[in-house]
């Protein structure tokens, strides 16, 4: 019997059911393998269908926040929650990382956690950035340069890894207590390709 099934035209689509739902289609394909039948449901959702409900599975605002500060087991929780919940749910995780892993004092850790929650990339539209790669543009510039910082995050000249590391392990915010000199930079200072000063800005693919 196993042989017979295996000899069937490979991984055949045993059943295809299409159900109309607006212009969307749902295709149910039963894939036969020697020992099992796997049912695969494929939805095709029409552009502009306002009746379909989508369920959030990934979220990102600031670079590195969920990746670095939030424990791996909490990542699903983080990804399905919203910025308005961050202060209550994740500020302690961030502060805990800064005290527990980096060994910094609690007051400093709380200041870092406060700057990163809610997890949104902040842009100050009244500030003059100075162009796509302008000096006032960049991650956390609204914290590091309150008078002029545009905030946001630029493609070039914005080493967010080093900025994050120097906040966590160094004295970027003026705290010299228990800094870790070997952890304030990853020694990778720039992207492997230059970006464009014109739309769509991001370097062409490799």
């Amino acid at each position: 019997m196993r042989k017979m099934l295996a000899a069937l035209p490979a991984l055949a689509a045993a059943a295809v059911i299409s159900a109309a739902c607006g212009d969307d289609t749902r295709t149910i394909v039963e894939v036969q393998k020697p020992d099992t039948v796997i049912t695969v449901v494929r939805d095709t959702i029409r552009i502009g269908n306002t009746t379909v409900t989508f369920d959030q599975i990934d979220r990102l605002g600031n670079p590195l926040v969920s990746e670095v500060f939030v424990e791996k087991r909490e990542h699903d929780h983080f990804n399905t929650s919203n910025p308005s919940e961050d202060v209550a749910q994740f500020r302690d995780d961030i502060a805990g990382f800064v005290t527990g892993v980096a060994g910094r004092d609690p007051a400093y850790a709380n200041a870092v956690a406060a700057a990163l929650t809610p997890d949104m990339l902040v842009v100050r539209l009244d500030k003059t950035g100075g162009g796509p790669f302008g000096a006032n543009v960049g991650w956390l510039t609204y914290v590091l340069d309150p008078a002029n910082g545009y905030g946001g995050r630029k493609l070039q000249g914005d080493d967010v890894v080093d900025k994050g590391l120097s906040v966590i392990f160094g004295n970027a915010l003026g705290n010299n207590n228990n800094v870790s000199p070997g952890l304030v930079t990853d020694n990778v200072d720039a992207n492997d390709k230059a970006h464009s000063a014109a739309f769509p800005y991001v370097a062409t693919p490799n």
Partner: protein, 263 residues
């Protein structure tokens, strides 16, 4: 940070194997600012958000919003890379300071015959609802057209530009060393998953010139080779929008941005 293990040689071999050819599955083993941060998005890379950028556009009255997804894509796999036609990609904007979205830019994709794909932009528009569950906010896209093409609507003070397609992944990091220091964050599959579980380093790797460690690098890890950008030569699927600031600004001057993917 704590970190992991995997010799440079082993990683090099794995990367060479991936670059040489090939396999789409073999490609999904890296990570960036937020690359592959849960098993679910590791297994569905089209749904994985990597980074968000925001900066001034052609002049100071315009703003550019960028969302990258799906990195790392190898050069060999780039021509075939597509967005998920059944997902809703969004950039959400809070312009009232309560960390709840007031406006959204929504992106949908559909496959067209011949292997192509179209992108549709809806917004900026007030969302149908806020939070975890989303719907497309309007039936007619503001811009629709082929991916890998610069699309526009309006002109002058109303010009909106849209691009969706493969680009270099702009993120850079010495990721393998990062995981040696913080092994908890490593992905669950691929070569980087072999690091840890105990931390294997307590400092980053030194900067080198022609393979020789530069002077003055004593504070860095001397035992795992030289610092290197894990994401060099890898690509991402990027969505780039440039639009007038007036379309996203609220009563105040500040906005908060985040990207989501939903299905």
């Amino acid at each position: 940070m704590r970190f992991p293990r995997l010799t440079r040689a082993r990683l090099g071999v794995s990367l060479l194997a991936m670059l040489a050819g090939a396999g789409v599955l073999a490609v999904r083993e890296g990570l960036g600012s937020d690359h592959q941060d849960t098993p679910e998005v590791e297994l569905s890379p089209r749904l994985d958000i990597n980074d968000v950028y925001a900066f001034p556009g052609a002049d100071e009255s315009r703003i550019v919003l960028v969302m990258t997804t799906q990195s790392p894509i190898t050069p060999a796999g780039t021509a075939a890379a597509r967005f998920d036609p059944n997902a809703l990609y969004q950039i959400r904007i809070d312009n009232t300071g309560d960390a709840v979205e007031d406006l959204v830019l929504q992106f949908q994709f559909d496959d067209v015959s011949g292997g192509g794909q179209r992108v549709a932009l809806f917004g900026p528009v007030a969302p149908t609802g806020t939070g975890q569950f989303s719907r497309v906010a309007k039936a007619t896209p503001d811009i629709v057209g082929n991916i890998n093409t610069v699309l526009t609507s309006g002109a002058g003070a109303t010009l909106v530009q849209l691009f969706a397609g493969p680009r270099d992944d702009p993120f850079y990091i010495d990721l393998d060393q990062f995981f040696r220091i913080v092994p908890d964050r490593r992905p669950s599959r691929g070569p980087l998953s072999q690091i840890g579980p105990a931390p294997e380093a307590s400092a980053f790797r030194p900067k080198c010139t022609n393979g020789v460690i530069n002077p003055g690098q004593a504070q860095f890890d001397q035992t795992h080779g030289c610092a290197a950008d894990f994401l060099r030569t890898f690509n991402a699927m990027a969505i780039v929008v440039e639009l007038p600031e007036a379309l996203v600004k609220g009563a105040g001057n500040n906005i908060g941005l985040w990207a989501t993917v939903s299905r």
